[in-house]
């Protein structure tokens, strides 16, 4: 069952519109609707706020501002993971970034709330904001650590000496823009009070964090907060924590003792959830003539909001990637009065690989070497910074298999040398690497007397396929047909997990379910062994096979349902769990990652510099695949996002106001179908026995890692023009195009 390309078990619900998302729920009657009012300055203070007209507007039940908002918990930095901390809103008159909530209007209809929101007059005293990254890059400071608790700087060997002595050097600066997660489902919630409790439907990646964060903000017992997030329309990091819409709805619901719904508009999402930091990355590579790297340095400066420090682990990307005796990495942060940086799919690797894998392509070009061969020559035997062995590194196999399948031998060896009509044709490649993480997760598996199983956990399915893979794991673990397994996700009353994030959700929750099933099997077999009524009495449990709803030992067999019903007429349950990786020796003793190799072919219009992807292939090594179908969707989704990062995506700040200018999906471009004519993902067979008992590793973020660099390198191969300021839009190529001929 595990490893089969099972169709999504929740697919019929979704295509029929019966999978209810947060804003679609109904609890305790007709809700009220909230509309968030955002600041129209980027830095300063509210010196007056006029709400009377709004309060008198039809249908309005409440206008909440910093003047009347209930007192809330503070962001307690002793709580180790930020998504569990309080997220107070409307705490005072200070404005920290453009669009920050200054009021919530609650009315009987959404339209009434929105119209009344327009009536609120806010008077500001403007402060001098820092909005332009380039102007303030010199003010960068050294953060204590970077995201995921990684060290800020690392150093191995003597970089300066190694780099100075290298025969061939690359020393370049790459820049990446602000990027947003932008799932289709906006951040949205329904909060309904029930006596002292709160019922919260929210679009959340981590239910446990949502529960804790709401409780900490409202200063109530977490047990009184009941969070439901059964279906989530995409997350990509933007729903790891809860956001102002949920806190505002919860505050209003308690004040009014009435259910309140709040959804962010698309424009508000661009202001209120945070974004991938902009980055400036200096990459230095020093190599011998044979391509072997002597020195690697990756120095990154990014923006941070001054109040909420966030340091994306962008330079950490190069720490485990290639062998080189002399190495440096560093992270610096420049405070800007902009929304906070936050986790966006593959934090660190996505921008980091754009830079490092572009630099490797530049090195291959400088050496006159095949870029695939250059990577193979720098394959490390041990993790080059940690000095520990790799658990399961198959990067070279990915490179070779990808090159073979793609027809890499047909690549134009010289840049700007192949033309088909008006198209300049280029091939590019880049590698993918993504750290594999493990976090705590618990799951309960309950066998009913009728022989059906229910899996219960607060783990979420953010469109990734959790319902499906847990069905497979439980069916596999109990020897049941898939239609006798039911999965219950996204409820805070279920056993807790660290949800979906960091690509760990599938492996964490699958391992927990697998263990719960093993515990159930052992318990039932032990009971049968000593039970005179069982056909399996006295037989060796070690020989037992659970299959098709039966339990067999040798020639004897008994339906699983009878084993359960006889001793547990009300059903029997067991829990399984995973532990935090810091408590698992394998994660200390081995370097555990997933890998891949991306290959891209692009055409660049010789006259207009329009860049169009022609085809793309990724070959990946991820341990054992739980479900090739859902895995493929994750991988190609990531690859396509990488195409967008290379060519299209950029949120632009107006340096006069601090506002994002292009804050809707008509102006913030992501790839459309016509941009992606041909994309394929191939996964090598594998099993990482150091990762977990199932041998499976995370895949949610691997696809985006490096795919943009493959496209960027293909653009260089097509045109001979190297663009180091992402995204590569046509005006950056235009000056380097050949003159127009007849």
């Amino acid at each position: 069952m595990i490893g089969q390309a099972m169709q999504r078990v929740d697919g019929p619900l979704k295509v029929a519109g019966r999978a209810a998302y947060a804003y679609e729920h109904w609890e305790a009657g007709q809700p009220l609707y909230g509309c968030i009012v955002g600041a129209t300055i980027g830095k300063g203070r509210i010196i007056g706020i006029e709400t009377e007209d709004a309060e008198r507007a039809p249908g309005v039940r409440m206008v909440m501002t910093h003047l009347n908002a209930p007192e809330q918990g503070i962001r307690d930095e002793s709580i180790p993971f930020e998504y569990w901390r309080a997220q107070p809103v409307l705490t005072g008159p200070d404005i920290h970034y453009y669009g920050e909530p200054v009021a919530l209007v609650v009315a009987e209809t959404f339209e009434q709330a929105r119209a009344a929101a327009e009536l609120i007059e806010v008077e500001y005293a403007g402060g001098r904001g820092r909005f332009a990254f380039a102007e303030h890059e010199g003010e960068a400071y050294v953060p204590k650590t970077v995201n995921a608790g990684l060290p800020t700087d690392t150093s191995v060997g003597d970089f300066d000496a190694g780099f100075d002595g290298a025969a061939v050097k690359i020393d370049q600066l790459y820049t990446t823009p602000y990027e947003f997660s932008m799932p289709i489902e906006p951040n949205a919630c329904l909060v309904a009070p029930r006596d002292e409790d709160l019922i919260v439907y929210v679009s959340s990646q981590i239910v446990d964090a949502a529960q804790a964060s709401i409780a900490n903000t409202l200063r109530i017992d977490p047990a009184r907060v009941h969070v439901f997030s059964p279906f989530v329309g995409g997350g990509f990091g933007s729903k790891l924590g809860i956001h102002s819409e949920t806190i505002l709805a919860a505050l209003a619901a308690r004040e009014l003792d009435h259910p309140v719904k709040v959804a962010m508009t698309r424009q508000q999402i661009f202001q209120l959830i945070g974004m991938r930091s902009t980055s400036s990355q200096r990459v230095r590579l020093g190599a011998e003539r044979d391509g072997r790297l002597a020195a690697i340095a990756h120095d990154v400066t990014m923006h941070t909001n001054p109040d909420v420090e966030y340091a994306e682990q962008t330079a950490a990307t190069s720490r485990s990637l290639y062998a080189a005796p002399h190495r440096l990495t560093s992270h610096r942060l420049t405070p800007l009065d902009l929304p906070r940086g936050t986790d966006v799919r593959a934090p660190g690797e996505e921008p980091g690989l754009l830079a490092v894998e572009s630099a490797m392509d530049e090195l291959a070009d400088a050496l006159g070497m095949d870029p695939v061969e250059l990577r193979i020559r720098n394959e490390p035997a041990l993790d080059p910074e940690r000095g520990v062995p790799y658990s399961d590194r198959h990067l070279v196999e990915c490179l070779r298999e990808g090159a073979r399948r793609f027809g890499w031998e047909h690549r134009p060896a010289t840049p700007s040398s192949r033309r088909e009509g008006r198209w300049l044709i280029g091939y590019g490649m880049a590698v993918a690497i993504r750290v594999h993480l493990q976090g705590p997760a618990a799951a309960r598996v309950r066998l009913e007397a009728d022989g059906t199983a229910v899996v219960q956990t607060d783990m979420t399915d953010i469109g990734t396929g959790t319902y499906t893979i847990l069905t497979q794991v439980a069916a596999d673990g109990l020897g049941l047909p898939a239609d006798r397994v039911r999965i219950e996700l996204g409820r805070s009353d279920n056993p807790t997990s660290w949800g979906s994030g960091g690509s760990w959700g599938a492996a964490n929750s699958s391992t927990a379910v697998h263990r719960a099933c093993a515990t159930l099997r052992e318990k039932l077999l032990a009971e049968a062994h000593d039970d005179a009524r069982s056909a399996l009495r006295g037989l060796d449990p070690a020989d037992a096979v659970f299959s098709d709803g039966d339990v067999r030992i040798g020639g004897a067999s008994e339906p699983l349902s009878e084993l359960v019903a006889r001793n547990h007429p009300g059903g029997v349950a067991a829990e399984g769990e995973t532990r935090f990786m810091g408590d698992e020796p394998n994660y200390t003793n081995y370097s555990i990652h997933t890998y891949g190799a991306h290959f891209a072919e692009v055409g660049v219009d010789a006259d207009t510099a329009e860049i169009r992807l022609r085809r793309m292939l990724g070959v990946f090594s991820v341990g054992r695949l739980l479900n090739p179908k859902t895995a493929r969707s994750q991988l190609i989704g990531g690859m396509i996002w990488g195409v967008g990062a290379a060519l299209e995506e950029e949120a632009v700040v107006d340096p006069r106001s601090g506002a994002f200018v292009n804050r809707d999906l008509a102006q913030y471009l992501v790839p459309v179908n016509a941009d992606i004519p041909d994309v394929e993902a191939v996964v090598l067979d594998g099993y990482d026995d150091k990762a977990n008992v199932l041998g499976a590793k995370g895949i949610g973020e691997l696809g985006i890692c490096g795919s943009g660099a493959a496209v960027a390198n293909a653009v260089f191969n097509a045109t001979g023009v190297r663009v180091r300021d992402f995204p590569i839009t046509l005006e950056k190529l235009l000056p380097g195009l050949p003159p127009m001929d007849a």
């Binding site: 249908g59 008006r422 329009e610 107006d654 506002a659 200018v661 839009t729 046509l730 235009l734 007849a742």
Partner: protein, 327 residues
């Protein structure tokens, strides 16, 4: 709540009468107006739905042209065999615009009247003389990558977003208008649109309560027609620059040429200057370069959009070369 009333018009003259009241607006496909209402940029008090008026036919005209009813959907115009055969530049322009779903809703008249996609026009907190006369133009000195390089002024640097209108400009289309008093007039499409001047909020010469009832295309000019749209992604995106070109060449000499640009100005930009530099000249790249220079002689960049000047030149040269080769 911004309440508005709604009526569905069944009679063309009655619709014009109905929209004469204060705060009333026509609505057809609604692909632009509804967005603008949700964003508080348009706030009509009354909507007159003209989408079901009997203005959905494409008729032959005695001079060999076509008369396209204003309520004909963009998809239907693009797919019409007469349009595809005789006015391929129009069909190509239409299918390059928006998405299939939007083209199924959007009307010919509505397409002509769609508003700019300037981000500051959409941001009610920003200064915009078009949205709020006298409030300034935040795009000047702001992020102006998609903005105008021709015919702009100190009050507004927005562009007109239509592809269809660019092809129609090259085809010498005329807009047929019905007035509240029942009068009918025809205005050349190049005269229909206004440059921003000091009144960028007034985008056309439409009189109050006047309705677009049809677009008349004269018989097609000789030569090969091409619409070339340059954009940041392969579909579902407005033009950075587009060119509608019609070139008639004979034995290596250009007899007649029509050139219109999209994405460069407050209106679809017919370039008489480029046409003058082409007529009677040899069909060579040198000629096309001269035409491109002539077309862009008065072009002014705003910073982020400086590249559009060279992009427009190059796009024009290549489009002319393709059109001349095939004609």
């Amino acid at each position: 709540m911004r309440s508005f009333t709604y009526e569905r018009a069944t009679d063309t003259q009655a619709a014009v009468t109905a929209v004469a009241r204060s705060g009333a607006k026509f609505i057809s496909g609604g692909t632009n107006l509804l967005d603008l209402m949700k964003l508080d940029i348009e706030d009509p008090s009354h909507l007159v739905d003209i989408s079901r008026l009997p203005l959905r036919d494409i008729e032959e005209l005695p001079d060999g042209g076509l008369r396209i009813g204003a309520q004909t959907r963009n998809s239907d115009v693009a797919a019409d065999s007469r349009v595809r055969t005789r006015y391929p530049v129009l069909s190509e322009a239409l299918v390059s615009g928006a998405s299939g779903q939007l083209r199924n809703k959007a009307s010919t008249g509505g397409n002509l009247l769609q508003r700019t996609r300037c981000p500051y026009f959409y941001d009610t907190a920003a200064g915009c003389n078009k949205r709020n006369p006298g409030s300034g133009c935040a795009a000047i000195g702001g992020f102006n990558r998609i903005h105008a390089i021709l015919g702009a002024g100190d009050s507004c640097i927005a562009t007109h977003p239509s592809d269809m209108a660019v092809a129609m400009a090259a085809l010498d289309a005329e807009i047929e208008l019905l007035g509240a008093d029942g009068s009918v007039r025809r205005v050349a499409i190049t005269d229909f649109y206004r440059l921003p001047g000091d009144t960028p909020q007034i985008e056309t010469v439409l009189a109050p309560a006047e309705m677009i009832t049809a677009v008349a295309l004269p018989s097609p000019p000789p030569g090969r027609q091409i619409y070339r749209k340059v954009r940041d992604r392969a579909s579902y995106e407005f033009a950075l620059v587009s060119v509608a070109a019609i070139v008639s060449a004979d034995q290596g000499t250009i007899r007649e040429a029509r050139v219109a640009f999209g994405g460069v100005a407050h209106k679809p930009w017919r370039s008489i200057e480029a046409e003058g530099a082409l007529t009677g000249r040899p069909a060579t790249m040198a000629t096309y370069r001269d035409a491109a220079e002539a077309a862009m002689r008065d072009a002014v960049g705003q910073g982020d959009n400086d590249f559009k000047i060279e992009l427009a030149r190059r796009t024009l040269c290549r489009t002319l070369a393709q059109a001349a080769r095939a004609s």
